[in-house]
Symmetry: D3
Subunit: 141 residues, 6 copies
């Protein structure tokens, strides 16, 4: 049971419903998952979160499947069951194979292991990893 | 200052040095970063960790750059400065552009944000995300 | 199922029951939630934890509702379902509105997002945030 | 040293500079801290993050100082030095006393302690904390 | 429901079954818990993880019960229900008393509390804790 | 630089100094580390935290060195540099060898790895790990 109601379309404000409709048309499906129906209790938060997500997960320099793999990896590190399950489904829908799912788990586990060793032993950062960053990533040119 | 010495080649056991040599030949460079020089204080741990890493980050169903992006993402979630810096360097060496680095940050930040909303509101997992998994991911066939 | 029994009053030691009675009289209710009934398996831990909590959450310079909001925020960041649910109930009992509950979620989510960006990009702390702290916070005067 | 350059005004794109100007006019100060100057390497991320932050931390049902206290609490739980320092400064600017700063630490520490006990002992959620949530938090009425 | 199938012996590859058999003979029991049956979907990951675990948790300089207590402590900090439950069972099997289980919880909770205070107040590390580490921990002599 | 002053004896309140004196006599040394000198800005928090720590880390059913190993393990998982360094020093003072320090790191890293696999794959808890707990851990008998 969520802390606030999972709102059906009929129970939402007009402002929230407009966002839900945008989710439907962007995703080309009538199904809207609980995450958005819970956020709909705060229409401004629903709108802000959806628009940010749509922008971040939309076209860019990293392909959509890779973005979902990263999303799942972070969700595992943050231990969010809802997010692990929903973004694993999204990754499968974008073509992730079962072998890739298992390989993703190994990379996340390996990173977690070496993260703890580096922190636990307080390994000093090598000079070569501390140099000046390259020039500005983006420009108007 | 690390909790145990950062060992130069001369200070290592023969067992540790054999692993360091394998790191050099696998990576085709003489440079060996501090992480391995600290782990060298426990040659068995050094060997086990290196062999696992080599296997996990080696050829598979996810391409090498994507694996590094996932590694950086987990390192950010676990807040490991050493790992963020060393694997960002590795990702750049594998072709990550500065635009991709920035986009990676946005995906990690977005996932962290929605993870907290799903946890904070205790959003119930949709039935569609709970269904039986597909058949076994791997087989002998 | 908890790892150790949820103790009813009859199953507790006298030392534990004395703490439970103090919880009842402090909170002016007979109901004692499972957290304390589980801790009652170690009466000294029960006493120490309750007395610390009573002191920390008692009268001070931050008002009681704000303290509960902070408690919920930390519980979300630590992903503790029990604590999210019990302290959300406590915050509602202290007057938190549903709009405030939703706004709290947005602040926690926003902080989680910018925390990850600052860590992921290794943003250097500005000099203005590093200056000498003010004089001692407390004095005998 | 950050992973990407801390951009001075002269090194930014026009799109980034427009956001920086909005930060200056909203905060009524010429000073812009490193967090935004690093994010300026990705003008779209800078714009999205700033606009979300301005909305979330702007007027609402929770007062501005309380929001900063929550922000600091989450930043401690996520172990973000940059965010702890910058938002402690922001909280002081909004009137947080040194006594409140210390009391905040105690609440965060106490929550962290009881979070671990509830998780470590797997305390079952009491029925009273699982009941149906109240009616929708927001409406058009 | 796990994200991939919990494999019975009949559904596994020969490579996976060989690992499962080693688990059975090492532990001197026919029972194999779900963790390994899920990992069996990736036989190489199953083999690598089991062999690492067998080595790390095998004979060394820290006694087996202490290792299990440490394992449980980390699992609580990482909030892994599966791991808390399975390693608490393992610790009990190695002789952990109920009093020790409760005392472990107090140590973990206390550490979590002081961790947050040290982070929240940004306590500077004392010089005495930063000195040069002792000579190499291991040698060939 | 800490967020509040690191107080010398002369700058403390009488109440804080009484706690500092108890730390000195309990530890049989004049040296008092920064953690306590920072907490001294809130004498009540100093007193409460010290008395809890003294009780938790004092005589019990788990030996003092094991408690320090657990403390270090949790501090690694929580990524607290101050606590990793100060409690590693405390563990060494209680007899931890360099080999044990390295072995501790491997156990923590291994637990972190399997924690992530169990969470990432959503492994269901085996029935045998869910059974009723033993009778009450403590009694008056």
């Amino acid at each position: 049971m969520s802390l606030v109601p999972v709102l059906g379309d009929d129970a939402m404000s007009m402002e929230a419903l407009a966002v839900i409709d945008d989710i439907r048309s962007t995703r080309k499906t009538d199904f809207v998952n609980n995450f958005w129906r819970v956020l709909a209790n705060d229409p401004a938060a629903l709108k802000r979160t959806w628009e940010s997500l749509r922008e971040v997960m939309g076209p860019g320099t990293i392909d959509p499947l890779t973005k979902e793999l990263i999303y799942v990896a972070v969700s595992i590190a943050n231990n969010c069951e809802y997010c692990i399950r929903s973004h694993t489904a999204a990754a499968r829908a974008r073509g992730m194979s079962e072998a890739q799912l298992m390989e993703l788990q190994s990379v996340v586990a390996m990173a977690s292991e070496t993260n703890r060793l580096a922190i636990g032993l307080q390994v000093p950062v090598d000079d070569v990893f501390k140099g000046a960053p390259p020039a500005a990533a983006f420009s108007d040119d």
